[in-house]
């Protein structure tokens, strides 16, 4: 019992929580934005993988870290464009198209990585983002170490969650996105083009997913290896439901999830040898499933989610 309290009281845990949460926050916001306009994007897992690869590759070849993030965002946007073309223009099944994008983006990422970086005993590394030293705050006892030793992209992700919450709830663009996700026919009657809105939301959302992936290679770690995304994309899709499609709750959900994850990582070292480590690794996935079961009924699903919109068809 005291071991548990020790873990919760360590500043290292809370610093890890914010670090673990960052890619989840970015991915969840991306998926959420897209789903609010009515398009489920299961391309997320592959888009995050590709973003992780291309962002890292850019920096490895001499680009700056922020340029790396930008490249990852652009790559995400391109895959988003592909998903939008298939699901919005052609109105194909969003499930199947998204899975196709994931398979394509991840295998393309592995192919490009193998082609550009020869096989080596130890994977090549880059110098990742360093913790931002905030005057006064970072030097606070406990709090400084727990909450203010993050890298810049983490603060950016939290800021983005707040901005996206404002955008969706309070601006005309947000209203147009929500309307398109609830009832595209009504949106069109209001002079909004549902196609344009959906394209915009899917492309912008996919760019966020790309950045979320790149955080893994440019800040959390310093190298890329296949399968490193490890289902984080699917967890983001579950978090969107848990968040009931609201950005502020997505931020909360990602942090809560990361708390459990950071906690189990530390518990693992305490209980190593007693409990197989695989049990701990299962926890994040089981937790996501449990969260879905609890929240799915209560969550307010965008009414036109997964329904293709064809002008003049009912």
């Amino acid at each position: 019992m005291t071991a548990l309290i020790d873990i919760l009281g360590s500043a290292g845990l809370w610093a890890a929580v914010l670090r673990i949460a960052t890619p989840l926050i970015l991915g969840t916001l991306g998926a959420l934005l897209s789903e609010r306009s009515g398009v489920l994007n299961l391309g997320i897992e592959g888009i995050m993988t590709f973003g992780a690869m291309i962002g890292w590759l850019a920096v490895y070849n001499g680009a700056g870290l922020w340029t790396g993030l930008l490249v990852a965002a652009l790559s995400g946007a391109i895959f988003g464009l592909l998903h939008a073309a298939l699901t919005v223009t052609l109105g194909l099944s969003q499930h199947v198209s998204g899975l196709g994008v994931t398979l394509f983006a991840s295998s393309f990422a592995y192919y490009a990585f193998r082609l550009m970086v020869p096989v080596a005993g130890t994977p090549p590394t880059i110098v990742p983002f360093q913790p931002l030293d905030i005057p006064f705050l970072s030097s606070l006892p406990f709090f400084g170490q727990a909450f203010f030793t993050q890298t810049a992209p983490t603060y950016m992700a939290i800021l983005l969650a707040v901005l996206l919450a404002y955008l969706i709830a309070r601006t005309p663009v947000g209203l147009a996105i929500r309307m398109t996700g609830e009832n595209p026919h009504a949106a069109e009657a209001q002079g909004i083009n549902p196609m344009t809105i959906r394209y915009g939301a899917v492309v912008a959302g996919s760019a966020l997913m790309g950045v979320g992936g790149a955080f893994l290679t440019l800040s959390a770690f310093n190298s890329f290896f296949p399968t490193m995304v490890q289902g984080r994309g699917w967890i983001c899709i579950a978090l969107v439901v848990f968040a009931s499609w609201r950005p502020e709750r997505a931020l909360f959900g990602a942090l809560l999830f990361a708390l459990f994850d950071g906690f189990q990582l530390r518990l693992q070292t305490v209980l190593s040898g007693v409990v197989p480590y695989q049990i701990f690794l299962m926890i994040p996935y089981l937790l996501s499933i449990a969260a879905l079961a609890v929240m799915a009924r209560r969550a307010r699903v965008p009414q036109a989610l997964m329904q293709p919109y064809r002008r003049g068809e009912r």
Binding site: F104, S107, W234, L286, R310
Partner: protein, 349 residues
């Protein structure tokens, strides 16, 4: 650009669609091969000879196609009824480990004719169980099964890894995490001597024909299709939706579990963490390439196996990453989706 539904789907178009789709995928892959600095046509030629050039490679391709037929059928059956079972990979592994456990501890010593069918049932049942949980969550709590089946893949793989590193670990494996070998009587007979090809291939093809028959000629086949096309309409017409979905899930999960069982009994004889190079996920592609047709699944599985086995050989000799096979297969899926769309719609001028 606007589209209108075709009044009439010509047979020629339906047959041409997958061919055009695969050609498109090859064209794009060609660009990637060219970027890698290799001669494109030679690379394709090497893929073909790598998959069929010798007795060894041809039997290897057929061996690889066997689990793909079964996981492809698992996906096709489920998708027909709009049950999005993306958990084939986890079900495959659970079927495999169940067979390894049952053979090592329960069925050991039974004659082949009893033991093999018994182990098939065990493997299929394990796959079924893993799919029934997401289905229950969908029916009871309206949780989208795509996400739950995807997440359960990771859980199942970790579970298997735990067992083969723990209670089921082979003490004679020099510390490697792998299960004890199955009983010699449980190994599937070979189809061809001096090869890895086993009778699982014949079984998989026979199952494809059975699934085809069930889907096109029985009441249940009609009900499962109706449940997928229009659930409320089907319910109105008296189709028991929940019951239909449960049976579909049992068939789908069972086939994926059986694929794992057959892979263990036919090829390896024991379970490792890399028993499947993504057979569950590739099964989804196989099903989509076949446009969910059970007989088409056999051809699509063969195509996918050719790509994977052929690319292995090509990559060794030409220095192109093997991932090129995954890229081609994924591109084939995407272009197939587009091709199928244009058999149903045309661009309005």
């Amino acid at each position: 650009m606007r589209f209108e539904r075709r009044e009439h789907r010509s047979t020629a178009l339906v047959i041409a669609a997958p061919l055009i789709a695969v050609a498109g995928a090859f064209a794009i892959t060609g660009i990637l091969i060219a970027i890698a600095g290799a001669p494109v046509f030679e690379a394709y030629w090497r893929i073909l000879t790598g998959a069929f050039g010798s007795r060894l490679s041809a039997t290897e391709t057929l061996t690889r196609a066997t689990p793909l037929i079964l996981t492809g059928l698992a996906a096709a059956v489920a998708f027909r009824a709009r049950l999005w079972n993306i958990g084939g990979e986890g079900q495959f592994y659970l079927g495999a480990i169940a067979v390894a456990a049952a053979s090592a501890h329960i069925a050991r010593g039974l004659p082949s004719l009893v033991q093999i069918p018994l182990l098939f049932v065990v493997g299929a049942a394990a796959g079924m169980l893993l799919l029934l949980l997401p289905l229950w969550l969908r029916l009871r709590f309206s949780v989208d099964e795509v996400v739950t089946t995807l997440l359960l893949n990771f859980v199942a793989l970790l579970f298997v890894s735990m067992l083969i590193d723990g209670v089921l670990k082979d003490p004679a494996a020099f510390g490697w995490p792998q299960s004890e070998a199955v009983d010699a009587a449980a190994r599937l007979p070979k189809l061809l001597a001096r090869s890895r090809l086993h009778i699982g291939l014949g079984l998989a093809v026979a199952i494809a024909f059975i699934v085809y028959f069930v889907q096109s000629r029985t009441v249940f086949g009609l009900q499962s299709r109706a449940a997928g096309l229009n659930p409320s309409g089907a319910a109105f017409a008296g189709v028991p939706l929940a019951r239909t979905l449960v049976i579909v899930a049992m068939i789908s999960g069972g086939l994926a579990g059986l694929a794992g069982a057959i892979e263990v009994l036919g090829v390896k004889g024991y379970v490792t963490n890399d028993l499947s190079p993504g057979y569950g996920y590739s099964g989804i592609v196989v099903a989509m390439l076949a446009n969910l047709n059970p007989l088409g699944v056999v051809l699509a599985a063969l195509f996918t196996a050719v790509m994977f086995v052929g690319a292995d050989g090509m990559s060794r000799s030409m220095g192109i990453p093997t991932y090129i096979a995954d890229v081609t297969v994924a591109l084939s899926l995407l272009s197939m989706l587009i091709a199928v769309f244009f058999t149903q719609y045309r661009i309005r001028r």
